[in-house]
Every structure is written in C-alpha cells, then in structure tokens.
C-alpha cells in the first residue's frame, strides 16, 4: 500500500510542477493582460492542488498533511479573489480588454 501511495505522490508532484511551469509560460506568452490573468490562475489553482496533493500523499496521515491542506485551502480562496480584484482594478483603471471588433 505504501509503494502505491508513494508512486501516486510522485505522479501528482511531477504533474503539479508541469502545470506550474505551464502557467508561468502562459503568463509570458499570452498577448494581452486579461489572457495572462487566466494563465496565472491556471498555476495557482491546478498547479498548487496537484503539488500539495502529492505532498499530502507523501506526508501520510499526520499533522503535516493537515497543515498542507490548510495551505491549499487558503491558496485556492485567496488567489481567485486576488485575481478577481486585479481584473476589477484594471477595468476601473481603464485597461479595456481587446475585443475582436477593435481593428
């Protein structure tokens, strides 16, 4: 049973790292601010879920995994709120998203 948990944990860790890098590259490559918002929240939600799930599997049933789940819970709540507030502030600041009838 322990080997299975460890394998699953390593799989979660690798895919989590993959999504963190994909999100970061997305923030670089996206053409416009609002598309970058989406790419950044890909990292913050999926990347952190997978990485912390891998760590929880490694940590097993203990206080460490409770702390890890607290960190994950908090990241999921705050990152979405922060990105939402960022989009509102950007629109309020006059940065309009490019629509296709701009040209």
């Amino acid at each position: 049973m322990n080997i299975l948990a460890e394998l699953l944990a390593y799989a979660c860790l690798v895919s989590g790292a993959f999504f963190v890098i994909v999100g970061a590259i997305g923030v670089i490559r996206m053409p416009e601010f609002y598309t970058r918002l989406h790419a950044a929240s890909v990292t913050e939600t999926l990347g952190s879920i997978l990485v912390i799930a891998g760590l929880v599997l490694l940590a097993g049933f203990s206080l460490v995994s409770v702390k890890l789940l607290m960190v994950l819970l908090f990241i999921l709540f705050t990152s979405c709120t922060a990105v939402h507030a960022l989009a509102k502030a950007a629109i309020h600041g006059g940065l309009m998203p490019e629509t296709d009838d701009d040209d």
């Binding site: 963190v20 890098i21 999100g23 990241i75 990105v83 507030a85």
Partner: protein, 96 residues
C-alpha cells in the same frame, strides 16, 4: 529525487514569473506577476520543507500565503483609489 526535480521546476517557474514582472507593459501585469510569484513561493517553501525534512516550514508557507494576499489587495486598492484611506475629506481631518 523527484522532490528536488519538482523544486527545481518551481524555481524555474519563479524565474519566468519575474521575467513577466520585468517585461510587463502595464502596472497591472507587474502586480499579477508579483502575485503569481508569491503563490509559487508558497509552493516552494512547502517543497523545501519536505526536501530538508522539516515540517515546520509549512507554517511559514501559510503565513506567506496570507501576506501575499493582503499585499496584493493593498497595492490594488492604492492603484485603484490613488490613496489607501480615501474616506476622509480635509474638513473631517481638521475635526480631530
């Protein structure tokens, strides 16, 4: 070994986020990059705690997640309203 590989991948993602902070044309891009950097740092701290076998790093990661959120909201409030405490007009301030 896998944990160190993941940590290195997370460090690369941090570098990429910093590149966007440097390049970002508008200030909102920079705020986004700093926010993303903060979140990735939380993951890095928890990974590093696991790498060195010290579970008390997770408290630091939790505090860092808290501070990162509050900092982003404070900077946004400053940029949106031009002031952190826009509520008081000059007359009200003289009443104290």
């Amino acid at each position: 070994m896998i944990i160190t590989a993941t940590t290195i991948a997370i460090v690369i993602a941090m570098a990429i986020a910093l590149v966007r902070a440097y390049l970002g044309p508008t200030t909102y891009d920079r705020i986004l990059a700093v926010n993303l950097f903060g979140t990735i740092t939380v993951l890095f701290i928890s990974m590093f705690g696991f790498m060195t076998g010290r579970p008390d790093f997770l408290d630091i990661a939790l505090v860092y997640a808290l501070i990162n959120f509050i900092a982003t909201i404070a900077v946004l409030k400053f940029f949106e309203y031009g002031d952190l405490s826009p509520g008081r007009t000059p007359e009200q301030e003289r009443d104290i």
